[in-house]
């Protein structure tokens, strides 16, 4: 993982017939540096979110009877939630509809170890566990973190180099779809296919093909 945002920006410049200078200037006036950086960041995070290629870990303390827990601020998708108290258990993903019908007292009666976690009803940045634990414990979270913010000053992409072209084609989709002189819907559609194909391949290699 050694591709810098400047290398990515320069490849975008080549593709869009802008003078190559590491993404510093976009003299055509069709696109701006900040606009391209924002799009590159969005595409990198979309790739991370959709594929769960890279994960981060966090241990969050949970008080007795607490059911809504703050997530790490850089969390864009939960992968696993493991309860560690007197027993260790991976919580299953669920929702309140399922919980209400399976254990209607889940919000009223605490238990030794929670059974499920729910994201749908919890506010953004929080996860809800149920039933709430009788005693304190910790949640071991595995989650997809936001990628490093690409600022055009040499930040390194968090995705493997092999997936850098996927981010590039993803960014080109948005840049070529822009209403204006640079619009080229045919090539944008091609790039969308390349991005989607990259996402699918990334999912497949998680299982270790070849």
């Amino acid at each position: 993982m050694a591709t810098t945002d400047q290398a990515l920006m320069q490849q975008l410049q080549y593709s869009l017939l802008e003078p190559p200078n590491g993404g510093q200037t976009w003299p055509s006036g069709v696109w701006t540096r900040d606009e391209v950086l924002n799009i590159a960041n969005q595409r990198q995070n979309t790739l991370l979110h959709d594929t769960m290629l890279l994960v981060g870990a966090a241990n969050v303390a949970v008080l007795a009877s607490a059911s809504r827990i703050d997530l790490p601020t850089d969390c864009i998708r939960l992968v696993t939630v493991v309860w560690r108290g007197s027993v260790v258990r991976e919580l299953l993903r669920s929702d309140s509809f399922e919980a209400d019908h399976m254990i209607s007292t889940w919000e009223d009666t605490d238990t030794v170890a929670p059974l499920v976690y729910m994201e749908e009803e919890a506010p953004l940045g929080q996860v809800q566990i149920g039933p709430a634990p009788i005693g304190a414990g910790t949640l071991d979270l595995l989650y997809v973190p936001l990628g490093t913010v690409l600022n055009g000053n040499g930040e390194i992409l968090v995705v493997p180099d092999e997936l850098m072209p996927v981010v590039k084609y993803g960014a080109l989709v948005d840049l070529l779809q822009k209403d204006g002189r640079g619009q080229d819907l045919g090539r944008a559609q091609y790039c969308e296919h390349r991005f989607n194909m990259g996402v699918e391949i990334a999912k497949l290699i998680l299982e270790g093909w070849a």
């Binding site: 080229d184 699918e200 391949i201 497949l204 093909w209």
Partner: protein, 236 residues
């Protein structure tokens, strides 16, 4: 297989166009490196092996970033069977607290591994003592070219495929018919990768690209225009 230097490859790329190339040296290098990166992603061409010592009671292991993805794992030279996190949770919900010393029906050596992310795996059961050796065979990070003298170890037939892909990437900026005319290079590249890795053929995007699933996405017999060219010409 043969070692080709970047200067030789660049010369071969320039020979693909009759007139003065419409790219500069950096652009050509980036395009060829993209070909290498994508080829390795699709085929797992470059392999490597890493070893990790097991840690007492630890079931989670991080892999080196020098490995793109893992394919086979052994513990003290005995193979671990690939599994999945969901399979472990559904089939044995107590697996996280089990070690090789747990007794009962828990094995006395790690027997399963499960991928979590590209660089993280679980093993089951955890090694209670530690000091064992996990050997991971997988696909190495792609060797890319930077200097003229840098070499790529690749067969002539694959080099031709990679040069075609590079030309396709370089022509992207031209758009229109010029870019559409290079689409067969990309198709050939995907076909070449699929020959080396049959799993690509299970990918729905590959099958859609190649028009393998739906009759209405197959090339028209009378025009002979492949799907990718139809897309780029706005007909797809």
């Amino acid at each position: 297989m043969a070692d080709y230097t970047w200067s030789t490859i660049r010369q071969r790329l320039q020979e693909r166009v009759e007139s003065k190339p419409f790219w500069d040296a950096t652009e050509a290098r980036d395009a060829f490196n993209e070909a290498l990166l994508t080829w390795n992603l699709l085929t797992g061409m470059w392999k490597r092996r890493i070893t990790l010592p097991t840690v007492a009671n630890q079931y989670e292991y991080a892999l080196s970033a020098t490995m793109l993805y893992r394919m086979r794992i052994t513990y003290n030279n005995l193979p671990l069977t690939p599994s999945g996190r969901e399979d472990l949770n559904n089939g044995r919900h107590t697996w996280r607290s089990e070690t090789t010393a747990s007794g009962g029906d828990v094995p006395t050596r790690p027997v399963l591994w499960a991928p979590v992310s590209l660089q993280l795996i679980y093993i089951w059961p955890a090694d209670a003592v530690g000091g064992g050796t996990l050997t991971v065979d997988g696909v190495s990070a792609t060797p890319v070219v930077v200097e003229d003298g840098d070499t790529v170890d690749i067969g002539e037939e694959d080099l031709t495929t990679l040069l075609g892909y590079s030309l396709h990437v370089l022509t992207f900026k031209k758009g229109g018919p010029a870019f559409a005319a290079t689409m067969p290079y990309f198709t050939f590249f995907l076909e070449g990768a699929a020959d080396l890795n049959d799993l690509i053929k299970t990918s729905q995007f590959y099958r859609r690209y190649m028009g393998l699933d739906r009759r209405d996405q197959k090339p028209f017999r009378d025009t002979g225009v492949p799907l990718l060219q139809q897309i780029i010409r706005g007909q797809g």
